[in-house]
Symmetry: C2
Subunit: 474 residues, 2 copies
């Protein structure tokens, strides 16, 4: 049957995520990001729209490249103030049953031993609905505040991240055997201590001798998202990620990116389609094309030019405040987001384009029109790029998601390309249809037998069902 | 009017918090600690009982002193597995309006820059209901897993903690002026960047140049709990704490501890009653004394001796597995909980007493009886010790809290010593009745004027109402 379209909503615990200025639109609730009710209502809306998950971006730093200060970012509320995403999860989990939560957290800012426990806790509390977006951090301002030498960090960040993941896999996959928790009231035994193993990790960056503090959670390793865009970042994603976020302004550019990551996955022995690709995408829709275009024009009138340039200056690692809007972009590679620099830093792009063509999204396409028009555009985009679904940004929140749930989802369902109900099970099972645990070809799986018993409990072994079973059967 | 009794519930994200073995009682839901519903139901029960808050203990390590391995702790489910407490808050906040949340977190395990944002986020999401129990960590096993040299840690941990707090105060109190967030849609300004200040902290242990990432939350600094029991720990508490947890097996011992902390607070220029004291306490109650005694006997029959000794070995820093139950305790000072070692380590205590007399609590008294009997005992205890209220442990959860809410609370209310409804406002305002912010005599208050304007915004200045206004008026 037809390949089903996956959809994540893309938000951030801040007044302005990607579209500067639209918090001022009368329908916008973005400024209510501090209010738990904003998040629980949003989660209910997304579950009504049968979204796969809510992905919450994060930065631990400020956009201070534009003009060399965080002034523009603060004035525009552009990713600053920014609150912690992890703290939102149990609130939203308490009002939903199926929605997944993709939490961004950096390998540079917390020790893996404590981070492992936080994520296991969330996986327990959500019944296996938690995902982790692995970032290594790109804002120097964040690193400085925790006392890291920024150059050192950039050079080694993926080496550190690789070892960080190894520590986590040992804790999540290997420390507790599947049948370690017996909870036998008669014998008075909660856990069989012979089945709980210290991980004895001694590496270049971390020494972790002990056991994992949390018992095995439904997914053990949370579902792993990644968005590495540098050469090293793409190798990292190809090795570890179960899903990636990818952004491209044209189908051609995105298609090449996706093919590249899939090829790298194959090169390290994984099935290239064991990585789901969520493509950065924005939708402005209404009952008719005419109404949608009017809405789009109205939204554009709210764009805050300074705020947008503050964001783009951060992404590009280049101070755009020194330019006129008609100047061509000509940016040398630096420590910022590498694919962004590669895609937009040179060639035909002018500063003005960042505002006129890209300010309502994240650099990916903006589909404007009736549900049928938008559905056509989405289907064509996914077909051309080989992406599995959308990482759906908002222009006005929660209106953008309500519109998508109420208008576009029914249209996609009519076309047979979007689920009509949730499958039971964990986030991983919902996305791959092969159970709750990491695929046996995933590098994390090799740490399952820490005890050296030579046997992997059968419940951890993936069955032989085809990788796109979920896609085909729903 | 009569001094009102404060009550915190005392729990932990683990199968066995303080009473080993009772997870096996048919009414116990302790093993459901991984289930968000356990916590949301508990929060609703506590709010029904008009509790001040739920205090969630934590350790980032295992009890491996007994027998030199974590075996006994694992078998008994004794504070291991143990999940993260912070992850529970937004879930419980989503189903309650007034209940406070006291979260334990160590100054040894996370950088203050990221920790500051997590707590600010929770203070926003809970509308100012979050408290922080400041711990410096006492289990060596935790320190080892994040690569800390344990001896170094013990020597310097309070020096590090003092500077840690300074960084936090600068971020929480000083970085954003009260009127920095303007949210002016017409002018398109979210925050006035001239009122957001980098903290420029350069200390011995931390360098934090930047601004706080979160805008001011209702309490700014979360309500500060502490439980330091060493000499240095008591000084730390006297300086920073707004409430402390104190445990004593007799009124005489506890009274001396409390008087000591209050005297130390006075010595650093604070009002001694600006520190609320929650006393470790356990209640087993039923309609009649006879039924309560029967319940107590039944509960005692569930006590897991090995598990209890594993806990006590950790608290005492001494391996009790080498002793017979009738051996007297004779323990030399070490790195464990110092007041515990001082109180129980010598004198008339035998190993057996830890089981027979103390295993149903945390070393504080266990009141057994009808609501009237228990209320008498509580009132007498608080009068004799000068504590402000109870840190109420459970023997069986949530039954112990349901019993207290349904039986003891009405009795205390009839006596006019327990609130009949919640006051509006933040946790700090509920406990002191003087607004949402730190008292002006609190050391954190001195970091309010980081910008050096010489003026403290009026909303931050405490009014002159007496410190026990809340107590008197309710």
């Amino acid at each position: 049957m037809t390949r089903q379209i996956l959809v994540n909503a893309f938000d951030m615990n801040t007044p302005t995520h990607l579209v500067a200025g639209t918090w001022r639109h009368p329908d916008s609730q973005a400024w209510r990001y501090k209010d738990l009710r904003y998040w629980t209502d949003l989660a209910k809306t997304l579950e009504r729209g049968l979204f796969d998950g809510l992905f919450i971006a994060d930065v631990l730093g400020v956009y201070d490249v534009y003009g060399g200060t965080p002034g523009a970012a603060l004035r525009g509320g552009v990713q600053v103030p920014v609150n912690d995403p992890m703290m939102l999860v149990s609130g939203m989990a308490s009002v939903t049953e199926h929605l997944g939560f993709g939490i961004t957290a950096s390998t540079s800012f917390e020790h893996p031993y404590t981070f492992a426990r936080r994520m296991s806790t969330l996986d327990h509390l959500t019944n296996g609905r938690v995902g982790w977006n692995i970032v290594t951090s790109y804002l120097d301002s964040g690193a400085r505040n925790i006392g890291l030498a920024t150059q050192e960090l950039h050079k080694k960040r993926y080496d550190i991240a690789d070892e960080y993941l190894e520590v986590l896999y040992k804790l999540w996959e290997g420390s507790w055997e599947d049948d370690a928790v017996v909870r036998d009231a008669t014998r008075g035994i909660y856990a069989d201590d012979t089945k709980v193993h210290p991980i004895n990790h001694e590496g270049e960056f971390f020494k972790v001798p002990g056991i994992h503090l949390a018992e095995p959670s439904p997914q053990r390793t949370p579902f792993l998202f990644q968005a590495g865009t540098s050469d090293r970042g793409k190798d990292f994603a190809a090795k570890h990620a179960e899903a990636i976020f990818a952004v491209g302004p044209t189908a051609e550019i995105l298609k090449a990116q996706i093919a590249d990551v899939r090829a790298r996955a194959r090169a390290v022995g994984r099935d290239p389609y064991d990585i789901k690709v969520f493509s950065g995408y924005t939708v402005v829709t209404a009952e008719t094309d005419r109404e949608a275009i009017a809405k789009h024009d109205l939204y554009r009138s709210y764009v805050d030019v300074e705020g947008a340039l503050a964001l783009w200056s951060g992404w590009l690692g280049y101070d755009l405040s020194v330019h006129d809007l008609d100047d061509p972009l000509n940016i040398v590679p630096n420590n910022a987001i590498q694919s962004t620099v590669e895609t937009f830093g040179k060639g035909d792009w002018r500063v003005r384009d960042l505002i006129d063509r890209l300010a309502l999204g994240d650099g990916g396409p903006v589909a404007v029109g009736s549900p049928a028009t938008v559905a056509d555009a989405i289907q064509e985009w996914l077909e051309e790029t080989d992406a599995d679904g959308l990482n759906l940004g908002h222009v006005v929140t929660p209106a953008s998601y309500e519109d998508f749930a109420d208008l576009v989802v029914p249209e996609l369902q009519r076309r047979g390309v979007y689920r009509t109900s949730y499958e039971e099970g964990t986030l991983r099972h919902k996305l791959f249809g092969r159970g709750d645990r990491l695929a046996s070809t995933h590098p994390g799986a090799r740490f399952r037998d820490l005890a050296g018993t030579g046997t992997v409990p059968s419940s951890l072994v993936d069955d032989a069902s085809p990788i796109d079973e979920l896609v085909r059967e729903s």
